[in-house]
């Protein structure tokens, strides 16, 4: 049984539909990606999962059981915007939040120190949140969401405001949590993070789930449309091959766009007949391309 199961949930604000019938399941040790443009309904979906707001229709089950206060305490939540007391010491508020979620003060304090050490910032223990930089506040926020060892964590834009070093640090932590069996519902605008972390995704557009499923399977659905060709010398006549729509000349070769996958073979043959081949690859579409294509298409 999957730890988190969302079935056809539906939410309406006035006459505006915020989320229109989204369903998904997050398995144990899985990071599930929830993608979408601004105002697509990601945050509303996450809030419904958190029990902050109730869906107008559909069901959400946690380890097979419906919403209860006890269940909700077992969730971890990393909100998109900062959710900390600016004027309270890090140790005080993290321990407070952990205690509210049922941890003893001693346990949470020990755990907090461990996390701070791990993020290389043990000196923040006695600092007020407002004294920290935005990125470091995000680290504290992250600790707040995981300190009570939740089985399900909801992360809304977990890596926003972080420098590349800290992104890597948090990313590796998230992976570790995943490998430890935690189910994570993850939303971001950074497609490369999704490609790296998520097994399954849902792309929301204007409240509707427009694309859903296993990331690899989704990529397979989209044709390979790009060819990278590295050559020793010039190749002429690439444009006239059937299926090639565009050729871009690079320093060490060519980038070609094709409208059918079969076009790869004649390209390689033509190139081989004229010069040495250093590199040839028919590229998978990136999630970024898929996203723009999906969301862009339904714009029309």
């Amino acid at each position: 049984m999957n730890p988190l199961k969302v079935e056809k949930i539906f939410k309406q604000y006035g006459d505006k539909t915020a989320v229109n019938g989204i369903s998904f399941e997050v398995g144990e040790g899985e990071i599930y990606g929830l993608l979408g443009g601004n105002g697509a309904g990601k945050t509303t979906t996450m809030r419904m999962v958190l029990g902050l707001i109730y869906p107008d229709g559909g069901t959400i089950t946690y380890h097979g059981k419906p919403y209860t206060v006890e269940q909700l305490r077992g969730l971890g939540y990393l909100p998109e915007e900062r959710g900390l007391y600016p004027k309270v010491k890090v140790s005080d508020q993290i321990n407070y939040l952990a205690q509210l979620r049922g941890m003893s003060r001693k346990d949470s304090d020990r755990s907090l120190k461990r996390w701070l050490d791990r993020f290389g910032v043990p000196e923040y223990y006695n600092k007020k949140v407002e004294e920290l930089s935005k990125g470091n506040q995000q680290k504290i926020q992250f600790i707040a969401s995981v300190i009570h060892e939740p089985k399900i964590i909801i992360m809304d834009e977990a890596f926003s405001g972080l420098d590349p070093v800290n992104v890597e640090l948090l990313k590796s932590t998230v992976k570790e949590l995943r490998d430890g069996g935690t189910s994570i519902l993850f939303s971001t605008h950074r497609m490369e993070h999704v490609e790296e972390l998520c097994r399954n995704i849902t792309i929301l557009h204007k409240s509707n789930p427009v694309l859903q499923g296993n990331l690899k399977a989704i990529k397979k659905q989209f044709p390979r449309e790009r060819v990278m060709l590295g050559t020793g010398g010039d190749v002429s006549g690439l444009e006239s091959i059937q299926g090639v729509t565009k050729v871009i000349r690079h320093e060490n070769g060519y980038e070609l766009f094709i409208d059918r996958e079969e076009a790869g073979r004649p390209i390689l043959e033509l190139a081989m007949s004229q010069t040495d081949i250093q590199h040839f690859e028919v590229l998978e579409p990136t999630l970024n391309e898929i996203f723009i294509k999906t969301v862009g298409e339904s714009h029309e």
Binding site: G51, L52, I53, R73, R82, Q99, L100, R101
Partner: protein, 445 residues
């Protein structure tokens, strides 16, 4: 689960006590209180050298002012001096000046004496044949010298009675009887079974203590509501605007987090009040302050325990009722800047209750306004305390008022918790009543 309530309470208290602002304000107010209590003593230390009687000049005129030889200027002045010298601490002293012959030059002399500091002012006698006693004019540089003129008036009245009585040939006992003041003792009694323990009647001193108690309770309640209420509202708004609320709501039920906060603030406010009371008591028991206190006739043993107990009930009930309302309002507003405007209606209600009692109730505790107010939940914590302390409301009315109040707290707490639950997730502009009602329906508390 109940642990969470206490966790919230503990966190609220800890944060307030650790805040520098709280400690500094408490300290400043404590210092002000101490200064206020010690002020009479401090002043007396400074003014000890100025205890000499005020000197008043007069002209020893030979001219007869009235037909009666008794009441010429010289004689009156002599008798006045005699009158003041019998006082424990002479208030005035009359200084004679020789008559120079003309009124103008006399006045010049006297004015010169004022400039030299020999006298503070002077009196002139003017014949009044109709009454038989001269009119007296007191002249000084200062405006409205109430204490001197008052002292002169009593002195002159005493002089006049004495002079007349000397001529009337009364016996010493008769004189004494005539001169002694009439005492009136007002004792408050009850005619039915009232709420207070005043069946035996209350002496004026007990009544004064009750009056004082009512004053103190009402002012404390008003302060608690205004200060703590505002704090509760602003803390909730701050939690909301910093989005901690989203995390809180997923971990603790809104009812617990709201009442945890209210209760925590109550403890904070109570500690503050206890600290102030302690400062007052310590200062009053200092040896040098014992005398002024005794003069004021304050005896704590005169407080009616029943009034005190009921007053505490109403104090607590009033606090919690207003606190829940403040919490509800705080949860609707998303930014601290908008809070002042939003809490205004509640502030006005509290102010109205306070003023009804301060100006309508303390002088006339049996008025219809106070009677009606003592059953209206938001006013009753003030109004019923006034009635309990200063009049004698029937027991059933007191309990009816308490029950109405408790039911209101329950209802207000429930509604507030729903508003809180719904309000804390509504950002942007303040929601309309319709939006709020709709949102409230959507959540369980």
């Amino acid at each position: 689960m109940n642990n969470n309530f206490w966790t919230v309470v503990g966190f609220t208290i800890r944060n307030k006590f650790r805040g520098k602002a709280f400690l500094i304000t408490t300290l400043i107010i404590a210092v002000i209180i101490s200064i206020g209590i010690n002020l009479p003593y401090i002043i007396s230390q400074f003014s000890s050298g100025e205890d000499e009687p005020t000197s008043i000049g007069y002209v020893e005129t030979k001219e007869d002012l009235t037909s009666s030889t008794m009441f010429n200027g010289v004689h009156i002045a002599a008798m006045l001096n005699e009158h003041y010298s019998t006082q424990e601490k002479a208030e005035l002293k009359l200084v004679p000046f020789a008559d120079t012959g003309s009124a103008d030059s006399n006045e010049k002399e006297l004015k010169k004496a004022i400039v030299n500091g020999k006298i503070d002012g002077y009196i002139e006698f003017k014949a009044n044949a109709e009454v038989g006693f001269p009119d007296v004019i007191y002249k000084s540089e200062k405006l409205m010298e109430g204490s001197v003129t008052q002292s002169l008036q009593t002195g002159l009245a005493a002089v006049k009675s004495k002079g007349v009585l000397q001529d009337a040939g009364l016996s010493a006992e008769q004189t004494k009887l005539l001169m002694s003041p009439v005492d009136i003792d007002a004792v408050q009694i009850t005619t039915s079974e009232g709420a207070g323990s005043i069946g035996q009647g209350k002496t004026p001193s007990q009544q004064a203590m009750d009056m004082g108690l009512v004053y103190v309770i009402i002012i404390l309640l008003f302060m608690a509501i205004m200060i703590t209420g505002q704090l509760i509202a602003s803390e909730i708004t701050a939690e909301k605007s910093s989005r901690v609320m989203e995390i809180l709501i997923t971990s603790v039920s809104p009812l617990k987090s709201m009442f945890g906060k209210i209760f925590g603030m109550f403890i904070v406010g109570l500690t503050q009040i206890v600290a102030y009371v302690a400062v007052i008591v310590i200062n009053m028991t200092l040896p040098h302050n014992a005398e002024p206190l005794a003069e004021l006739n304050i005896r704590f043993s005169d407080i009616d325990p029943f009034v005190l107990i009921y007053a505490l009930i109403f104090y607590l009930a009033g606090y919690f009722l207003f606190a829940t309302l403040f919490a509800a309002v705080g949860s609707i507003v998303s930014r601290t800047e908008d809070l002042g405007q939003a809490v205004l209606p509640i502030t006005m209600l509290s102010l109205a209750g306070f003023y009804i009692c301060m100006f309508g109730g303390l002088s006339n505790p049996d008025s219809m306004l106070i009677k009606v107010s003592s059953f209206i939940p938001l006013f009753s914590p003030y109004a019923m305390v006034v009635r309990l302390g200063l009049s004698d409301p029937p027991l059933w009315q007191v309990w009816a008022s308490i029950i109405i109040l408790l039911v209101t707290i329950y209802v207000a707490g429930w509604i507030s918790a729903r508003i809180y639950r719904a309000g804390v997730l509504m950002y942007g502009k303040r929601p309309s009543f319709k939006e709020l009602r709709k949102a409230m329906k959507a959540y369980k508390v």
